[in-house]
């Protein structure tokens, strides 16, 4: 007992202060929102040069307008390394979650992303202070699963916002899906969804769940949750950083406003 108390004192208080204080620093090499610099993307040959889109393993880049689909992007930097002009870069901006699939497509020189807006008043009233989620891995590689479950640990503690994973779909307000949705998981995912009482929400976590990730186009998968369920929140990444997920959920629940300000009264 004495040793446990001593260890507890030594381990200290570890929960991050985000969102009330600034987010914890991410490493310099962290790859957040990608961006195109139109001046460096050679204007005269922009239509012809397809170095970035050819290098992209998942077809996330439109070769003509050079827009990047964050839903497909696996943040691998193959485009950045291929671009002769150095026009592609990955910023340190971890805020990536969006409410609409369209908002995940960023165009050349687009400065900011249209980040997730809060649920409507009724849904926010229901889930704003208590959101219980059932997680379903449908072909996930384990990385998305690991970095969403880490949010329950003392370092992140999303329980302080009322967010929690629950065992039974009957106790859940929504479903957080990882993986491209394998055909072998389709039925189980549908049954889990059907077992959740309405109103309920769907969160697609990671590029696999949004658009199939590296497995897009395989016969064995369905290229994302959207193929069978309506998605309310898209969280890009491979896997999404825990901070990206937390930021997205807090925006969905209206705890971080459009201007980034933290809402009071929670």
């Amino acid at each position: 007992m004495y040793k446990q108390i001593l260890a507890r004192i030594r381990q200290g208080h570890r929960t991050i202060r985000f969102p009330k204080a600034v987010a914890p620093a991410l490493p310099d090499r962290f790859r957040g929102r990608p961006c195109f610099d139109a001046r460096l993307c050679r204007a005269e040959c922009r239509a012809e040069c397809r170095a970035c889109s050819d290098a992209c393993p998942v077809g996330a880049i439109d070769p003509l307008n050079k827009s990047i689909d964050l839903g497909k992007c696996i943040f691998c930097t193959d485009c950045m390394r291929a671009c002769p002009g150095g026009a592609v870069a990955f910023s340190g901006d971890y805020r990536l979650a969006a409410r609409s699939r369209r908002d995940l497509v960023i165009t050349v020189d687009q400065e900011t992303l249209i980040l997730a807006q809060a649920l409507d008043r009724r849904m926010k009233g229901l889930f704003g202070r208590s959101l219980k989620l059932r997680q379903v891995s449908a072909g996930g590689c384990g990385a998305c699963e690991a970095d969403v479950s880490v949010l329950g640990t003392i370092g992140w503690d999303w329980g302080r916002f009322g967010i929690q994973f629950v065992a039974s779909p009957r106790h859940a307000d929504g479903i957080l899906v990882t993986g491209p949705v394998t055909k072998n998981m389709e039925l189980a995912l549908r049954k889990t969804w059907d077992a959740i009482p309405g109103p309920k929400i769907v969160i697609a976590s990671g590029s696999c769940a949004i658009a199939g990730g590296p497995y897009a186009g395989h016969d064995q998968v369905l290229d994302g949750v959207e193929s069978i369920l309506p998605v309310d929140l898209y969280i890009p990444g491979c896997p999404p950083h825990p901070l990206t997920t937390l930021d997205g959920l807090l925006r969905l629940l209206g705890k971080i406003g459009r201007n980034g300000r933290v809402s009071r009264g929670d």
Partner: protein, 510 residues
């Protein structure tokens, strides 16, 4: 040096040999060679089918590891027609390999004692080993399960969707009261067609398939893939890259082992270590993120070397954080061994005997916990492990405690290894550019991932493309070990036993 048995071709880990140097044995001789090798203490690392270009003919390849002799050997045979006599009754460790060959190539393993699909998917050849009609969908885990009949015997079915944040799988328990007579595990829910998609590669996606084959073993699988490409293209990889790969592999091991010990602690209701380790695991992942910007090591391993170099400020930062984490980790984990209620739950739960480990070909910490000196960093070293040996950590009780304690010993060894390597990084380049892949060769790459042996075997065709790419995740060997460990245990101990193996579903299902 190892002496390969008659009919088998010797091969070194991380090297390739010309296909023609592997003689095509008669089927009986092929099986006899496997039996003799396994009887002599060798292991089956991989046994898989491949196309031959001839109608109705499937090639079978085997890779055997002679751990005592530090060598590998490859063998080949051909199967004509729709079936082959199963070797499983005489060599249990090939049981799942034979089911996999049957599923992928549509040929029956005749006489296999438990002949069922592995991943519930269609074969690659149009034939079906179970004669399932084409238009009908194949549903996972649908079919017969082993059943125990009798008064008061009941069956418990769990999954595919489990209570926690965990991948899907189906578990069938045959119980008498609380006691488990038998557990059968049906997987395949995570099957996304990686091996099939690797054929005709390398493509732009190949490395990303490898990084997500088992997401928590990104470094382990990506390193094997890089070594396969380097072996085919005869690429000399820089020393600095090899050391950095080792550092990343050990960081992956430490992060996962710390996470597992925390989860084991949580499963027996001891919350201090569960809470501390949950946070500490994330901080080890953050060290990998310092290296390459991703907590799981995505982008770090690339054919030819590594994708990112480290400079002095970075190694200083890594060493500084490692130092603090080492103390916090010890503080947290040592609480387990001092706590009687934890030890009472860990000890004698889910024991796996050394004989079972050998018979089933179990690998990794699960094998070492049952007293086996089985660690490919030591037995089949590649890269940095050829120059710096990490002591092999073993226990002999084979129970949950042993699997936990082996992890704790390995955490300490790995941290010491990382520290010493960071202090002595060789100078020079970090990535060579691999050339074209040599045609018609076979390459083997084996690394000790945190769950155990990760084995990749690839064959190139006439144009230097992958004709076959075989991936064996340690979980492929070890799921049967978990099923055996549950026998005669309380069903309520399943979560604890399961966590003590912590196997990968996606690495098995591919």
């Amino acid at each position: 040096m190892t002496r390969a048995r008659a009919g088998l071709a010797p091969i070194h880990n991380g090297n390739s040999i010309r296909l023609e140097t592997i003689p095509t044995l008669g089927f009986g001789d092929f099986q006899d060679a496997i039996l003799a090798a396994v009887g002599g203490g060798q292991r089956v690392c991989a046994l898989f089918g491949a196309g031959t270009g001839k109608p109705d003919t499937t090639a079978l390849y085997v890779v055997l590891a002679d751990d005592a002799g530090n060598g590998l050997a490859a063998g080949r045979t051909e199967v004509a027609g729709s079936g082959f006599p199963s070797l499983t009754p005489r060599c249990p460790s090939v049981h799942l390999f034979e089911r996999e060959i049957a599923e992928q190539f549509g040929i029956r393993a005749v006489g296999h004692p438990w002949f069922k699909p592995v991943r519930y998917s269609r074969s690659w050849t149009g034939r079906d080993a179970w004669d399932r009609p084409l238009p009908e969908a194949i549903l996972p885990a649908v079919g017969d399960f082993y059943r125990v009949e009798g008064e008061q015997v009941h069956e418990v079915a769990v999954g595919p969707v489990h209570a926690g944040v965990i991948e899907p799988g189906h578990f069938r328990f045959q119980c008498h009261g609380e006691k488990v007579f038998h557990l059968e595990i049906a997987l395949g829910y995570q099957h996304r067609g990686i091996e099939e998609a690797m054929e005709r590669g390398p493509t732009a996606r190949s490395i990303h398939y490898m990084e997500t084959a088992a997401g928590d073993t990104t470094i382990g699988h990506a390193t094997c893939y890089a070594q396969i490409v380097e072996a085919f293209s005869l690429t000399q990889k820089p020393a600095r890259a090899q050391v950095l790969r080792g550092v990343a592999l050990e960081l992956e091991r430490v992060a996962n082992h710390v996470g597992d010990l925390g989860a084991l602690s949580g499963d027996v209701g001891f919350l201090p270590t569960a809470s501390f380790c949950g946070r500490i695991r994330g901080d080890f992942l953050n060290l990998t993120s310092l290296l390459c910007g991703n907590r799981f090591g995505r982008g770090f391993i690339r054919p030819g070397g590594v994708g990112f170099d480290v400079d002095r400020p970075l190694t200083d930062e890594l060493s500084r954080r490692l130092h603090a984490l080492e103390r916090e980790t010890a503080d947290s984990i040592n609480l387990l061994w001092d706590n009687q209620s934890v030890m009472a739950r860990f000890e004698d739960t889910g024991p796996l005997s050394g004989e079972t480990v050998v018979a089933l070909g179990i690998v990794g910490p699960a094998a070492r916990a049952s007293g086996l000196m089985r660690d490919t960093r030591y037995d089949q070293p590649s890269g940095i492990y050829r120059f710096f040996q990490i002591p092999v950590s073993t226990c002999d009780s084979g129970d949950v405690f042993a699997r936990a304690y082996v992890r704790w010993m390995e955490i300490q060894q790995s941290i010491a290894f990382i520290r010493s390597q960071l202090a002595n990084l060789p100078p020079g380049e970090t990535c060579a550019v691999p050339g074209a892949l040599e045609p018609e060769r076979l390459a083997v790459a084996i690394n000790e991932g945190w769950r155990g042996e990760v084995c990749h075997v690839a064959i190139t065709d006439k144009s230097g493309r992958f004709a076959r790419y075989k991936i064996v995740d340690p979980s492929f060997h070890n799921w049967s070990g978990l099923a055996q460990a549950l026998r005669d245990q309380e069903i309520s101990d399943f979560p604890l036993c399961n966590k003590s193996f912590n196997l990968s579903y996606c690495g098995h299902d591919l």
